[in-house]
């Protein structure tokens, strides 16, 4: 079916030489190209309305296999644009009818796009996830003198055991918070994503932190060293670093600036 095509918007950038996108393929399997307006460059690719129109898209987004292919294709384009210059990624499934509509969006939102481009220029995103470490085997407590019978002794031991587990969990949560505060001091901006579901991570351990950190490109090495140092410091938690990412987590207004982290350092309850 020779269906109608529309334009998938991958990202917005500026100062991009279109030759830097040579060979790049978009989510619909067609080459990406640029639409320029208002001093900005939109990176787009044609997609079939039959697959990416409102109804089919709603259905396809429920299909994890389809979603994975599309998400990776979108990411590959965003990542390539980010290697060429500052990039504002768009959320998955932003589609316009034609170049003229995209030009209008660039013009109407020029100030917003420019502000985000300024914010992410020469910066990159790193992800750090913190998991609770598996609890070490606990030595059996010496049996206390039994003056009240086996039932009471069992209940007392059980209470002690639960209390110890609670303390271990609380220590891990506190340590994850310390890690976040330490990493925040190395970052221009930070954002906490919700912890990921265990069914998706495949990890038995509980995720305590799913942080994103916007770091100056020239400080990336230092950030990695800080993660490594923090990894060795705590027995209660385990760290995992991902990245560098295009600045996905910092293309919205809903993130904290580093100034907010006075709160963490003063150890107020996390929001």
């Amino acid at each position: 079916m020779a269906g109608e095509t529309v334009l998938w918007l991958h990202a917005v950038t500026r100062g991009l030489d279109p030759r830097q996108l040579a060979g790049l393929i978009g989510v619909g399997g067609r080459p990406v190209r640029t639409v320029e307006a208002a001093g900005l460059v939109a990176v787009v690719s044609p997609v079939d309305l039959g697959e990416f129109g409102e109804e089919p898209l709603r259905r396809n987004l429920e299909d994890l296999a389809w979603l994975e292919v599309v998400a990776r294709a979108h990411h590959d384009v965003v990542d390539a644009v980010g290697r060429a210059g500052p990039v504002v990624p768009t959320r998955l499934a932003t589609v316009y009818r034609d170049d003229a509509r995209i030009g209008t969006v660039l013009a109407d939102r020029r100030a917003d796009f420019s502000a985000v481009l300024d914010r992410v220029t020469d910066r990159t995103e790193w992800g750090v996830k913190v998991y609770a470490a598996p609890a070490p085997p606990r030595p059996a407590a010496a049996p206390a003198p039994d003056t009240t019978g086996p039932g009471a002794a069992y209940l007392r031991r059980r209470r002690e055991q639960l209390s110890a587990e609670h303390q271990t969990q609380q220590a891990a949560v506190d340590d994850a918070q310390e890690v976040h505060a330490a990493l925040s001091r190395c970052a221009e901006a930070v954002r906490r994503h919700p912890p990921q579901d265990r069914r998706l991570t495949g990890q038995a351990a509980t995720m305590l932190l799913n942080g994103a950190y916007l770091v100056g490109t020239e400080h990336s090495q230092q950030f990695g060293a800080t993660v490594a140092a923090l990894s060795g410091r705590y027995r209660t938690i385990r760290l995992e670093l991902t990245g560098p990412w295009p600045p996905y987590s910092f293309s919205t207004v809903e993130f904290s600036t580093v100034e907010d982290f006075g709160v963490v350092e003063h150890r107020d309850p996390p929001r």
């Binding site: 959320r91 992410v120 990921q196 998706l200 990245g243 987590s249």
Partner: protein, 74 residues
């Protein structure tokens, strides 16, 4: 421009292919939100994600925003 990634040696744990779950955290829950004229309005995106949440609970927070907020700034 100079916003490319640092050399691989500076990244202690960089995987060859990004984990899907990490990618979905980012491409579904973040990024500039603009209302596409052909497909999903923001409210519709929220509906889609509500049903995805059964499978992908990690992206659930995006439904916390006000529905129909098509003027969200980047």
């Amino acid at each position: 421009m100079t916003s490319g990634p640092p050399p691989a040696a500076t990244a202690p744990v960089v995987l060859d292919q990004v984990a899907l779950v990490d990618l979905l955290d980012r491409v579904l829950a973040t990024g500039v939100v603009i209302t596409g004229e052909v497909t999903l309005s923001i409210a519709d995106v929220d509906l889609v994600h509500i049903s995805l949440r059964a499978l992908l609970s990690s992206v659930g927070t995006i439904t916390n925003g006000p529905p129909g907020g098509d003027a969200e700034s980047p």
